[in-house]
Amino acid sequence: MRVAGIETEYGIVDPEAPQANPILLSSRLVSACRLWADGKTAPWDYGGEDPLQDQRGMRRDRATAGADMLTDVHEWDPAHGRISLRRRRGSWEDPAHLNAVLANGSRFYVDHAHPEYSGPEVASAREAVIWDRAGDAIALAAAQRYAVEEDSRVELYKNNVDGKGASYGTHENFLVRRDVDFDALARLITAHLVTRQVVVGAGRVGLGQRGERPGFQISQRADYMETEIGLETTLRRPIVNTRDEPHADRKHWRRLHVIIGDANCLDVPTYLKIGTTALVLGAIEADDERLEALVLADPVGDVTRVSYDLDQRTELALASGEKATALEVQRALLEISRDYAQSADDLQVLARWEQVLDALGRDIFAAAKDVEWVAKLQLLGRLRDKNSVTGEDGSAVPLPWDDPRLAALDLQWSRLGDGWASRLAAAGAVTRLATDEEVATAVSTAPQSTRAAIRGAFVARHPELVDAAGWSTVVLDRETRHGRLEVLHLDDPLQTSHPILDELG
């Protein structure tokens, strides 16, 4: 499969002090994570970031960029322009934006006002599940260490909305060939990103950005997607994000940065959001003509049309003039994707995708062990029935959707450790695709299928030598004939060994 990775911004709360500053909480959590890592950690190398380069070929003028976009600010010096970072040690850090590069190849850090786990690069959907759950385990271990260090505690939530208007993201990244025309890529992947909600949505109580209308919808993020395509990620959020930062050889690769997805607490949606999207990208790279027939006429409107349609009956208008339901579009994409399976892993993704689509088409509750929004809806439905009252005509009236118990269940669903989704998994009520042992190993070991193996090994075995590490660099601080700060460039995401690492052992 193509190289991919998942970034998760967690919701963070001090339950005894709900007003506590989330940036400070997150920063202390990263500090706690470093203590937990017991020396096997490195600072972040900001050398390679270019948040203002647009996939469409243009560059945003620095003066017009919002402060949120300037993630490379650490190496930006207004007096001198771009500084050669290699003269400056990564060990200098802004205390409000701490980073920990970890032995499993991931980055745990403060992004905006949230702790974020950026998982290591993986090369299969199953690896994506394993290292995504490893991130939850690391975040939870950091929270436990925090409780020891701080004499207070934090709770972490793997969701995307607070119900008051704020949204924070779970992003997927896919390596895509540079020679694919970006406008075509954006046009053709959109139908998948809009309709895959029915398979991978996490479910949400409340409709509208502030949950202002009572009800339940399929996706956490749907109400926050406001445009088809764009560079921003914190406002006017686009279905297709155009940030052009491949973290790989720019001549050969793009990175598709997908921001429409939900955080998932179940394994199957994590597996399918990576696995199916990777396959559809294969069809796009191959210029498969059948994809054109699935282009949606109104993709932004369709995001909520699909998310609000629990019965899966709404027909979406296609650009061709035809109509199709989200499930029909998904089934067509499944059939096209069959031609692009390249491995046993891909075949397993196709089989799981088909199984879930079949179940959803038959009776959504047949998919309750695999599809997160259905699992959540089922639990909510049972709670509503359990607390029903007798109406005037003698019939049972379930709890109304605006009852705070339902909103509370939705939020607590995603709490790391003891949340209801974790409890369902422990009760054997959801499908698991990775064992607890695999996840425990992935907490301290990087995937061996990508360059994360090199990054992780340096951090695990030689942390004292690592000045900083990024996605495509490891900066070593040691006396050499080149000078002290030696930058190892890892521009090929599939590189899994490095001569210097071999020498050092």
Binding site: P22, K386, D418, W420, G428
Partner: protein
């Protein structure tokens, strides 16, 4: 992180008798779901509203 949801009353008594399904796996999981539902119900009877109100996040990406 401490477990904040102490289990409530014993639920074995009022759980419906498991249906005799072949394999028994489904009945087992339904039982587990029933007891979890009881626990959720108990836990949400107190201060669900306060919990929801105090869950406030800043926007992210």
């Amino acid at each position: 992180m401490p477990q904040t949801h102490a289990s409530g009353q014993p639920y074995e008594d009022d759980a419906p008798a498991p249906e005799p399904t072949p394999g028994g796996a489904k009945a087992e999981s339904t039982d587990a779901l029933d007891s979890l539902l009881d626990e959720i119900d108990d836990s949400l009877q107190v201060n669900a509203e306060q919990f929801v109100r105090s869950f406030v996040q800043k926007g992210g990406q």
